[in-house]
């Protein structure tokens, strides 16, 4: 009978959710009643145009958005990213050739490239032997003879400038569930490195050492070890204080431990083996170039699902921030890359900072990184200072995601799964933007990392993507 629910209310303890005037929940609390205060905002932040688009999507009875998103996010869950080998880009990365330079983020022309990216392109051309020095490389880059393309168009990802050229060794990942592959270069370390736009002889020499010593040794050790289940490894590091983007100390350590018994058995010079160990050990972010392709292999399995509003790519090229949506094919939606709200290394300040750059935001796209902030108390300084702030960053992300991860868990949240599968619809509706952890590059090529922090992606790309989504899937206005 209809009155039953009301009579149940009369005999239950009152528990209230309050949207609006805060004094109403204060009143209830003072009278001993539990009340949750909602930080309510008008849908789409009061933007009437977007609100109308939301209506168009919600009013289409034929659109099975929930089912499509369910399929997309369940593919993310079912994915099994596995590290299988190291190869040379030209041999394994689809479409790679001598005159192709891959970069991070959405497409960008040489003219519009940010300082650090240009610096890295120059370094890449010198490394490939296509230019003798920076001046020649610059001329070549501007000549139109060199093809530029996003890593993402070639099943790849790259941190910061994300430059990948034909001769570079790359990690090879296979998604054992869906059979797709992902690639990423090996992490070069900190300081003057190509990914921050440095291109001096020191940088080129290190890249050559990586070709000739590091990569072959790791390849052999990996072959002896056999494929590594990265999902398993990432699940572990999240319980050891890493979030997989700005903190990779636990992951790097675990990776070394995993390979150590196989490395020491290799028939290689002791000095070289020691150097390989030392190289990995002194670079906390060595593991980042493993989480990234693992996340790429994971999320790529959810691309191209008709009707899905799940975000399958977020990436920045230093000029623009771009996203792609499962149900909208390969189209990019972009907005200007943001300045980063962060903490700076001594001697640097905001005025030294380049704009947001890199494919590493693939980690957030897959449900770790900033989304797992609650699991990384060591770096809470980036998000306000207290562990509670870090918890709140993660909790906020549940508002815009489709599911809780079944493998990646947060101990501090009672082992709740990380918020996974960003729903464009929810982002637009709530106005809550994805929380992205990131490093900050110096705006001039070659200086390197100057800080780290939290970046706010531009609202525009989400609104543009949603407009396209409503155009394709919504009822006519």
């Amino acid at each position: 009978m209809a009155g039953d629910n009301i009579r149940t209310l009369f005999t239950s303890e009152l528990k209230a959710i309050n949207l609006g005037l805060e004094s109403f929940s204060e009143t209830l609390r003072r009278e001993g009643t539990e009340a949750v205060q909602v930080d309510w905002k008008p849908p789409a932040g009061g933007d009437e145009k977007i609100a109308a688009l939301i209506d168009r999507v919600e009013n289409n009875p034929k659109l099975k958005r929930d089912a499509a998103n369910d399929e997309a996010v369940s593919r993310v869950m079912r994915s099994k990213p596995t590290l299988i080998d190291i190869g040379i880009a030209a041999d394994v990365v689809p479409g790679m050739h001598k005159k192709l330079v891959l970069h991070s983020g959405p497409p960008v022309t040489w003219e519009k490239m940010a300082g650090p990216v240009r610096g890295a392109v120059i370094g890449g051309l010198i490394y490939e032997g296509l230019a003798k020095d920076a001046a020649e490389a610059e001329k070549l880059a501007a000549s139109g003879e060199i093809e530029f393309d996003p890593c993402h168009h070639h099943d790849s990802v790259g941190p910061m400038a994300g430059i990948m050229t034909a001769s570079m060794p790359v990690w090879i990942f296979r998604n054992e569930t869906f059979g797709n592959y992902a690639y990423c270069t090996l992490n070069e370390g900190l300081g003057k490195v190509l990914r921050y736009g440095a291109n001096s002889q020191e940088v080129i020499d290190r890249l050559k050492w990586m070709d000739t010593v590091l990569a072959p040794i790791l390849k052999e050790a990996l072959a002896a070890h056999g494929p590594i289940d990265m999902k398993n490894l990432i699940a572990q590091v999240l319980q050891m204080g890493d979030e997989g983007h700005n903190r990779n100390r636990a992951g790097t350590s675990l990776f070394i431990r995993e390979l150590a018994p196989y490395l020491v058995m290799l028939d290689r010079k002791k000095e070289d083996l020691a150097e390989v160990f030392r190289f990995m050990h002194t670079n906390d972010h060595f593991f980042l170039n493993l989480t990234m392709p693992a996340c790429k292999a994971t999320v790529d399995a959810a691309r191209g699902i008709e009707g899905s509003s799940m975000i399958t790519t977020m990436a920045r090229n230093g000029t623009e921030f771009g996203i792609r949506i499962s149900g909208l094919g390969d189209q990019w939606f972009t907005g200007p890359a943001s300045k980063i709200d962060g903490l700076y290394l001594p001697g640097y300040s905001e005025k030294d900072a380049a704009r947001d750059v890199g494919d590493s935001v693939i980690t957030e796209t897959a449900g770790i990184g900033g989304f797992a902030m609650a699991g990384a108390p060591a770096i809470v300084k980036f998000v306000g200072g207290s562990p509670q702030d870090a918890l709140n960053v993660t909790r906020r992300m549940y508002e815009i995601t489709l599911r809780e991860n079944d493998t990646y868990q947060i101990p501090a949240l009672d082992f709740r799964g990380t918020p996974t599968g960003i729903d464009l619809f929810k982002v637009v509706e709530t106005g809550v933007l994805p929380a992205i952890n990131t490093g900050i590059a110096h705006k001039d090529p070659g200086v390197g990392m100057v800080g780290a922090g939290l970046v706010k992606p531009p609202v525009k790309c989400f609104h543009d993507a949603f407009a396209a989504y409503a155009e394709k899937y919504g009822v006519a206005p």
Binding site: M1, A2, G3, D4, N5, I6, R7, T8, L9, F10, S12, E13, L14, K15, A16, I17, N18, L19, G20, L21, E22, S23, F24, S25, T27, L28, E31, T33, E34, V36, Q37, V38, D39, W40, K41, P42, P43, G45, G46, D47, G384, S386, Q388, D389, L391, N392, R395, R396, Y398, E399, E429, T430, G431, V432
Partner: protein, 516 residues
């Protein structure tokens, strides 16, 4: 001297900002203060006030604008500091301790056993959020106004289908399981169940019951439009059916503005079917004949006394005043004596809408017509609600007074400003006031008006006349403001304080009759 600051992506609730505006404008040396979101309307407002800049023009609805105009640099500085502190007060309570969800859905995840959702968001968004709440099985109370009628009907039908309460829109008060929701008083619990389509009426009723020694099981508001033919009393009937089946409720009481005739029949039918003694008062309508278990009360206070009697309290006796006739006569003689000169008219300034209507009904006939912004008869409608004409009763909760500022139950300056106008006319012979306390209301409404009342009385006296100020306080001893304390403050300011709104109106009528 101006200071204008735009904070990007800093959304605050408009009512919260209005409260800040109110505080900041009080700062010495500040002429104008606008703390508002960058909506089209607010930006236009700032252009009109000469407080717009390029940055303001570029602001969006999610950006906070702080625009200050003052006479001194230090005042601007103090005001800016005050705004920042007041804004932070809100965020501070959430920081480091409590996670605040941004959507209903995640609030439900945080509190899976939540059973009621309160809404004080802009009316046009109620349809969307209310539907989500109902679909999750939450009872709703909607304080918001400006909810389209179609939305209200749809939501109430859905609520009825799901057997849920949907109180409102424009429902300012309710008491569920003894807990005050929004604007409500702290009253004793007991066997009287109330359904009301009137906010301040419900407060006056519950307080009168409390004063008479009775207690409330549930007090359910429906919003004023519920009893119109278009809505058909869906929530009133739903709530009555629920109370009929509630073993804690032994007496049913209905208070409402006159409903559509079809709704009246359905209400009476439902009350009869309940088998419980019932008391009904339709504010401003002709008193009906009692029928079966249903009694009709001539006023809110009488409804309270009848309900208390039906619930086992002292037998009901109709009486104009709580005090004896001689005491009344003495007060009337004393208060009427000094009125003179240009002083001719009664002026009633009300914070509670229903209280204004109730007082109007009492004085209208006797004084040969009283003008009001809530008069049912067009002939006696004020052209401009803020300009009195002869005898006048004004509901200061009218939209005219509340654009961009909170309701007069919260913002007492609205009434103080109107009082100045009445004084300036020199025609005021008597001032009739209501004071509503309890949760949601101003923390000290009597105190906030006491000095203005005393000053008004003095200025009339200085001009050779006398100003009687007749008032009532809707509230209880258990309210945070404390009924007796409010009463004492008013009496010290020279007011005659009666124990109910209708008695205050009756006393005012008697004094005016005496003056002739």
């Amino acid at each position: 001297m101006r200071r204008i600051i735009v904070r990007k992506d800093a959304y605050y609730d408009s009512v919260f900002l209005m409260l800040i505006n109110q505080d900041v404008k009080k700062i010495d040396g500040i002429q104008e203060a606008v703390v508002a979101m960058g909506t089209d309307m607010n930006r236009d407002l700032l252009v009109g006030m000469g407080l717009s800049t390029d940055e303001v023009a570029a602001a969006g609805p999610n950006d906070l604008i702080i625009a200050l105009d003052g006479s001194r640099e230090d005042a601007l500085k103090a005001a800016e500091q005050a705004v920042i502190e007041l804004l932070q007060k809100k965020s501070a309570s959430g920081k480091g301790e409590e996670f605040r969800p941004t959507s209903l859905q995640s609030a439900v995840e945080q509190m899976p056993d939540a059973n009621v959702a309160l809404f004080s968001i802009p009316g046009k968004f109620v349809a969307r959020e209310g539907r989500k709440a109902l679909e999750r099985g939450l009872h709703c109370m909607v304080f918001s106004d400006n909810v389209p009628l179609d939305d209200e009907i749809r939501l109430k039908k859905l609520a009825r289908e799901k057997g849920l309460l949907f109180m409102g829109p424009d429902c300012g008060t309710a008491i569920i399981n003894g807990k005050p929701l929004c604007f409500a008083n702290v009253v004793r619990r007991g066997p009287i169940g109330i359904v009301a389509a009137s906010g301040s009426g419900l407060q006056e009723l519950t307080c009168s019951i409390d004063k008479a020694g009775g207690g409330i099981s549930q007090a359910i508001g429906t919003g004023g439009r519920d009893v119109k033919a278009e809505v058909g009393g869906i929530m009133m009937l739903t709530a009555l059916e629920a109370l009929a089946g509630d073993p804690e409720t032994r007496v049913l009481t209905v208070i409402s503005k006159p409903p559509a005739e079809s709704v009246v029949d359905a209400v009476i039918e439902t009350l009869k079917k309940s088998g419980k003694p019932s008391v009904v008062h339709f504010i401003g309508a002709r008193r009906r004949e009692d029928t079966g278990s249903v009694q009709f009360a001539p006023s809110i206070e009488d409804a309270a006394l009848m309900a208390v009697a039906a619930s086992g309290g002292p037998a009901y006796q109709a009486a104009e005043f709580s005090m004896d006739a001689a005491a009344v006569e003495k007060i009337v003689a004393r208060e009427a004596a000094g009125i003179g000169g240009k002083q001719k008219y009664l002026r009633g300034l009300f914070a509670g809408g229903t209280l204004a209507e109730e007082a109007l009904m009492v004085v209208h006939e006797v004084l040969g017509g009283v003008y009001s912004n809530v008069h049912p008869n067009q002939q006696f409608r004020l052209e401009d609600p803020s300009v009195s004409r002869e005898h006048t009763v004004i509901d200061l909760g009218d939209d005219t007074f509340t654009v961009g500022r909170p309701h007069p139950m919260i913002d007492v300056s609205i009434r103080n400003e109107q009082l100045e106008k009445e004084l300036a006319s020199g025609e005021m012979a008597l001032l009739l006031l209501d004071f509503v306390i309890g949760y949601g209301a101003h923390t000290d409404p009597a105190g906030a008006m006491a000095s203005e009342i005393a000053a008004a009385r003095k200025s009339v006296k200085d001009a050779g006349g006398y100003l009687p100020v007749i008032a009532s306080v809707t509230g209880t001893e258990a309210d945070p403001q404390v009924l007796s304390r409010q009463k004492r403050i008013l009496e010290e300011a020279g007011c005659v304080v009666l124990s109910s709104n209708i008695q205050a109106a009756r006393l005012a009528k008697r004094i005016m009759e005496k003056v002739g």
